[in-house]
Symmetry: C5
Subunit: 353 residues, 5 copies
C-alpha cells in the first residue's frame, strides 16, 4: 500500500532541499566509473564523487554509476558539479518521482522507474533511476545496486555490438533499453500469474482466488503508474532536439519508444484480462450457488412431501381406517415411490440434473 | 452533501455583488503583513486593510495575508486598491469557486482549494484560498486562519532557503507548493483509510464496510473536483507569460505542475483501488452466502432423508413387518448411518467441505 | 419519456417551415418591451409584434420579451423584421433544439434550455428560450412566461448594479446568467433528493428506492443533454468576435462560462454519486439476503438434527432398548441440548451472529 | 446478426470489381428522372441508364433516382458516365459501406445508411443509399425503392418550399434531410419500446424482458454504427469547399449537421437508459429473490421449532412425565403459540413483513 | 496466453542483433520471385537470397516473397542489400512487432499481423508479415507460407484487374488489401461463434458458456491489439508522401484505410455484444436461481405447516380430545387441504407460478 501515496517528507522544508526520502540502509554509496572508446577501456571504483570529475571532464565516453543514495551530500556535490538546479538534485534524492525528461540545454535529466518482482511475496517493487547526460559523460543514480545494467556493462567490456563505437547518448539509450527489456520480463512473470489464476478458475474456483485477483489488479495499477509517464518521457527525448543526441541515436530512441508502447499495450491487455477473470470468478460463484440450491431443492422437495405422508400415519387418531388395511403399509410405500418418481421426472424435465 | 451543490446565494442580485457566501462566524478579519527582503524583515498585524496599502506600495516584497472573509467591505476595499474587476472581488467572496488562474495583465489572480480532513468524522473539507499577485506584493485571502502557511512564514522569519532572496512571485510559488504538499498529506491519510478497509475485507467483511467504501468514494469525488482544475490553473500559470513572474521562478512552477500531476495520478489510483475494494466486498459477500447455503444444504440433505426413515417406522399401521424384526431397530440405524456416509462422500467429492 | 426523442413533426414539410412544435395552449402571446438607458425607462405591453419595431429601431437599449410561441405567424414576422434566415425562425418555433449559438454577422442567435422542477412529481422539465441580439435590441422568445427573468427586470427597474449603464449585450449576458444561476437551484434540489435517497439507504433500503434511483438517473441524463451543449454555446459566444459584444462584456461571458463548467462538474459528480448509491443499494440488498439466509440456516441446522432424534424415538419398533431406560427421556433431552449448544458454538465461531 | 459482420464477398477478386453484394431479388432496376427548375417540370421513367444521360447533361436541375442495384452493369455504366473511379462504383454496389463523403473535385460522392424498422419483428434494418452530385445533376442509388424520398418528390411536384428555385446541391440537402428526419421517426419508435420495457419493469418484471433488453441493446449498437460516421460525413460536406455547393446551401448543411448531433445525443441517451433499465431489472430480480427467501425463512423458522416440540411428545419413552399431566396437551399448544408469537415479533422487528 | 506477453528473448544482447524469435521449425526458407509488367511474367524459386538481387535491381516490377524466417543470416543479407538499418532487420526477425510503418526515404518498411483461426481449437493466431518496398521491388517476409497471397499471385498470373499495369506500390496495396479482406473472414467466423453463444443463451444457458464467453473476450482482445495499430500504420502510409507511391495508388490506400476502420468498428461492436451476452448470462443465471428458490419455497411452505399438524396428532399425551372425535381424522385432512389451498392462492397472487 505504501507505494500509492507519496510521503511528503519534505513538508515544512524549503523546496530544493536535498534530502533522501527512500529507505535508509547502512550500505555505503558505491561509485563506479567506466571510461571508454573503441580503443580504450578503464574501470574504476571510487569512494568520493570528486574523484570522478577528472574522468567526466576527459574526452572519451564516461559512465559514472552511483549506487545508493544514502549519502545526500555526495549526490549534491555531484549535482552541483554537473550544474544541476537544486530542484533536480532534490528530485534525484526524493525517490518517488513520476518518470520525466527535462532538457536542461547543456544537459539532459531523466528519471525513470525500474520494476522488479519481489521473489518472496510476488509483489512488484519499483526503484528510481536517474540519468544525467552531460557532455561526453553519463551519470546514473540508482537506489540500490541492481543487475539490470550488468548486461550493458558486459557489452562494453567485451566490445559486443556497436556500444564502444558510440558516445554517451547511445550509452544512455542502451541503459534505457535494458530497463524497458526488463519490463517485458516482469510482465511475462505477471502474465504467468494471470494464466495460473485463469487455469485455477476454469477447474475449481476457490475463494482465495479473489484476493489474488485483487492483489494483481493493484500491482497492475502500480506498474501502470510507472510506465505511462515513461512513454511520454521517452517520446519527449526522441522528439527533443538536444545536441547531445546524435542523429544516429534518434532512430534507436524511436525503436525504444515503440517498445514502451508495446509495454503499455500489454498492460492494458492484462487489465482487460483481469476484469474478465474477475467476471468469470463472479459468474462461476453464481453458478456454484445455483448448483448448491438445486441439490437442496431436489432433496427437500422429494422428502418433505413423503415425510408428511409418514407423519399422517403416525397420528394417533382412534379412527384412521387406512391403518387397519392389510396392504396399507405397502400402499403407502407405493404412494411415496410414485411421488418421488414424479418429482424426479419434473426435475429432469427442468434439466436440474 | 452540502459541498456538492453550489449555493446560488447571489440569485436575484446583479453579477459582481460582493457578498460572502461561506459560513459566517463572528471571528473578526485578521490582517497580517510581512515586508521583507534579504536584509529587512518587518511583521505587522492590522485591523483595517487601508493600513496595508503603504507596504504593498513599497519596494521590498510584501505579503498581505487576510484570514476570514466575513468583512466583505474590507475585502472589496482591498480588491479595489488592487484594481480588481468587481467579478473577481465577487469570486474571492463567493467561496465555492472552481480553481482557476486569471492573468489580469498587471496582476495575477488565482483561486485554489485547500483540503483538510476533519479529525472528528474523517470527512474531507475544503477551503478557498485566493491569491492576488500585484507588483511586489502578494495578497492572500483565506476563509479561516489555517496552519498550512506557517511553514513558509517560518522560512521567511528564519531566512531558510532562498525565499528571502526572491520576490513575491517566488513567495506565491512557495505558498502554492505548501498547499500542494498538504494534498499529499491528506492523500496519505486517505490511503491509510483505504488500507484499513482492505485489511478488514481480507479478514472478515462486515456490512458497515459498505457504507465506509461509499463514503470514501464520495470524499474522493470531492477531492477530485478540487484538484483537477488546479492542475489546469497551475499549468496556465507556468505557460503564462506574465511579467510578474521571473524566468527563474518558471522552473519552480514546472516542478509544482509535476506535483499536481502526481496528486492526480494518486487520486486516480485511489479511485481504481476503491472500485477494486468494492468488487472484493461484493464477491466476498457472494462467497459468504454460498458458504451459508452449503452448510444449510449439507445439514438438510443429510437429515431430511433419515428423518423420513424415522417417520416411516413411526407410522401406526397394524402391519409393518419390519417393526417386529429382532434387529429392526439396529438395522434402521445401520441404514441411516450408511445414508449419511453416502451423503458426506457425495459432498466431499463435490468439494463442499 | 417523451422528452428523450424529438418529435419529427416537420416530416414531409420543406425545411424552414415555421411551425410551433411545443404544447399548444390557448394562452395568447404576450409581448413586453423595456426601453432603457441610464436616464430613461419605458415599459410597454403590446399585442402585435409590429408595435415593437419602433422601439427596437430606436437608440437606447430595448428588450423585447415574447412569451408563448403559439402564434407562429407573429414569431415569423418578428424574425423577418430581424432579418433571420427561415431555418432560424423554424428553430425558434421547433422547441426541441439543442443549445447553440450562431453568429449571423449583424446579429447573434442563441438558443438555450431553461430547466425547472415540476413541483408535483419532482420531474425536471425544460423550456426553450431563444435570444436574438440585434443592434441595440435584444429579443427573447420563451415558451411559457416564467419568473427567471423577473430578477433582471427588477434590476432594470430599480437601477440596481450596472445594467442600466450597459447595452443590450450586457442585458443578454445578465439573462443568460439568470438562467445559469437557476441551474444551480435545480441542481440543489436534485442534490437534496440524492441526499434523501442516501440517508434512506443507510438506514433501511426498501425496494421502491430502486425506481427512485432509476428515475433520478434518467432526469440527470436529461439535464446533461441540455447543459453540455450550453457550455459549448457560451464558449463560442465568449471566443466569438461579434462586434455587438463590447470588450467589457467579454469578461462577464468568461465568468458565465466558468459557471457552466461548474454546473457540468456538479452534474458529473451527481452521476458518479448515483452510480455509487445504486451500488450501495445492490450491496445492501445482497447483505440482507445473506442475513435472511443465516437466520434460516441457523434455525434449520439446529432443529433438523434434534427433530430427527425425536423421530428416532417415535418409531414403533418392538425392540428399542433406550425407550425402557429410566433416564432415557432425560438423556435424550440432554443429548439435544448438547447438540444445540454445539451448533450455536459453531455459528458463533463462524461469526454468524 | 448477419448485419454485424461484413461479408467479404469480393475476396480473391481484384479491388474495384463491380459486384452487387446485397440481397439479390428479381425486381428489375427502376430508373426515374425528374428534370426541373422554377418553371419547368419533366418526369420520366426509363429502363436503361443511357436514356438519362441527355437529361443529366442538360441545364436545369436533374434528379436521377435508381432503385435496385441488381443490375451491376447498368450501375457501372452510370458510374463511368459520371466519371467515377472504379473503387467508388464498387462502393455503390458493395452495400455494407460505412457512411462517408468523398470530394471528387468535379463531383461529390456520398454514401449513407437509411434505417427502417421491420414491422414484423421490430428489428432495425438498414439500406445503403449513394449520392453522386455531378454538375447540375444528382444521381441517387437505392437498394430497394422506399418511400423516404416521396416527400421531397412531392414538394418538387407541388412547388412547395424553395426546392424548385434551388439547384441540385439543395436537392441533395433535402434528401439527406429527409433521411435524417426518418432517423428521428425510427428513434421515436425505439423510444416507445424502451418506455414499454420500463413500464413493464416497474410493474412486474418477467424473465423475457431480459432478452428484449438485450435485443434492444444490439439494435442500438447497429443504429450507432450507421449514424456516427454519418455525422462525420455531413460535417465534411459542410466544411468542404466544393464549388458544386452554393454558399446559400451551406447554411442548410449546418442545420442538417446539428440534426445528426441531436440524433447521436438521443442514441447515447437511449444507450444510457438501456443500461439503467438493465440495472433495474437485475436489482428487481435480486429483490424478488430476497422476497422469496423471506417467505421461506418465516415459514420454516416458525414451524420447524414447534414441529420439533410435537416430535418430542411423539416419542415412545416409557417415562415421559409431561404426557401424563392433565394440561400437558393444552400446555404444549400454549408453548407453541408463544413461540410463534415470539418469532413473528422478531421478524416484525427486522421488518421482514 | 503466450501471445499476450512478448518474450524478451533478446535480453542481454545488444540492440539490433538479428535473431529469429518465432517458433523454430525445420522447414527451410522458401524464396519466390515474380518479375512482371504488362507484357512480361517470370516466376522463379531460389534457395539463396543473393539470386534475387538481379531481379530486384531490374526494371519491371519484382515481388520477392520469403516464407519462413528460420534462416536469420539470409534475412540479414537481404536486409543489408535493401539498405535497411540493423534495427529494422531485427524487427523483421523479432516476430512480436506491433504493426507500424516506417518511411525510410528511399524505401518503405511496414510490418503487419496476419490473423488466422486455428481450425482445431477455434483460437485466433497471428503471424507477422513484413513488407519492404524498395524502388521497383517489393520484398515480403512471412513466418509461414500461407495462402492469403495466393489470390494476388493468381491475379498477376492471369492478368486479372489492373495489377499487371501497375507498379510495386500497387502490388503492396493489393497484398495489404488481401490481408485486410482476410480480417473480415476471421471476424465473420468470430461473429458466427457469438451468434452460436447467443442462441444457446436464449434457449438454455449452461455453465460452460461462461468459459466460452471469456475465451472469446480474450481472443477479441488479441485481435484488437493487432488491428488498432494497423489502422494507424495504413493511415500513415496514406498520408505519407513517399515518392515510391504514385498518386494513383493513394486513392486505393484511402479505400484500404476505410476498410481498417470498418474492421475496427466491427471489433468494437463485437466487444459490446460480448459484454451484452455476458450480462445476459448473468441475468439468466439469476433468473434460474430465483426459479429454483421458488420451487423450494412453494413445496416447503405448503408441507411444513401441515406436517406440523400431523406431528401434533402423533403426540402421545394421554389427553388429546381430538384423537377421540369420530371425524377427527377427516377433519385434520380437511384442515390440511384448506391450508394447502390457501397457500397456493397466496403464491398465485404473488405470481410465483
Amino acid at each position: 500500500m505504501k507505494k500509492f501515496y507519496i510521503a511528503s517528507s519534505k513538508q515544512g522544508q524549503p523546496p530544493g532541499t536535498p534530502v533522501y526520502t527512500g529507505t535508509r540502509t547502512d550500505v555505503p554509496i558505491r561509485i563506479r566509473v567506466i571510461h571508454y572508446n573503441e580503443e580504450l577501456l578503464e574501470e574504476h571504483e571510487f569512494s568520493t564523487v570528486e574523484e570522478t570529475f577528472a574522468y567526466a571532464e576527459a574526452a572519451p565516453t564516461t559512465w559514472v554509476n552511483i549506487d545508493g543514495l544514502n549519502d545526500a551530500p555526495a549526490v549534491e556535490k555531484m549535482g552541483q558539479y554537473l550544474g544541476l538546479h537544486s530542484l533536480i538534485i532534490e528530485d534525484i534524492l526524493h525517490t518517488h518521482q513520476r518518470p520525466k525528461m527535462e532538457d536542461l540545454g547543456d544537459a539532459v535529466y531523466m528519471v525513470i522507474r525500474m520494476l522488479s518482482i519481489d521473489p518472496e511475496n510476488d509483489e512488484v517493487n519499483s526503484e528510481q533511476i536517474s540519468f544525467v547526460l552531460h557532455k561526453s559523460a553519463l551519470v546514473t543514480f540508482q537506489e540500490h545496486s541492481g543487475d539490470v545494467f550488468e548486461g550493458v556493462r558486459e557489452r562494453i567490456q567485451k566490445m559486443q555490438g556497436r556500444i564502444r563505437r558510440k558516445g554517451a547518448d547511445y550509452l544512455m539509450y542502451a541503459l534505457l533499453d535494458a530497463v524497458t527489456d526488463h519490463y517485458f520480463k516482469v510482465l511475462e512473470q505477471f502474465g504467468e500469474r494471470i494464466e495460473g489464476v485463469e487455469a485455477a478458475l476454469m477447474e475449481d474456483p476457490y475463494p482465495e482466488l479473489l484476493n489474488e485477483i485483487y492483489a494483481m489488479k493493484r500491482e497492475l495499477l502500480y506498474i501502470r503508474k510507472s510506465v505511462w509517464p515513461l512513454r511520454e518521457a521517452i517520446g519527449n527525448l526522441e522528439r527533443g532536439e538536444n545536441e547531445l543526441f546524435e542523429d544516429g541515436t534518434q532512430k534507436y530512441l524511436r525503436d525504444l519508444y515503440d517498445h514502451t508502447i508495446q509495454v503499455i499495450d500489454t498492460i492494458e491487455s492484462f487489465r482487460d484480462m483481469l476484469s474478465g477473470v474477475q467476471d468469470l470468478y463472479l459468474s462461476s460463484l453464481g453458478n456454484k450457488t445455483n448448483q448448491v440450491m438445486k441439490v437442496l431443492t431436489i432433496i427437500a422437495t422429494i422428502f418433505i412431501p413423503i415425510t408428511f405422508i409418514a407423519g399422517i400415519y403416525g397420528m394417533n387418531f382412534e379412527v384412521i381406517p387406512e391403518l387397519k388395511w392389510k396392504y396399507g403399509y405397502v400402499g403407502v410405500w407405493a404412494l411415496m415411490i410414485a411421488m418421488t418418481i414424479g418429482m424426479l421426472a419434473y426435475f429432469r424435465r427442468k434439466r436440474w440434473f
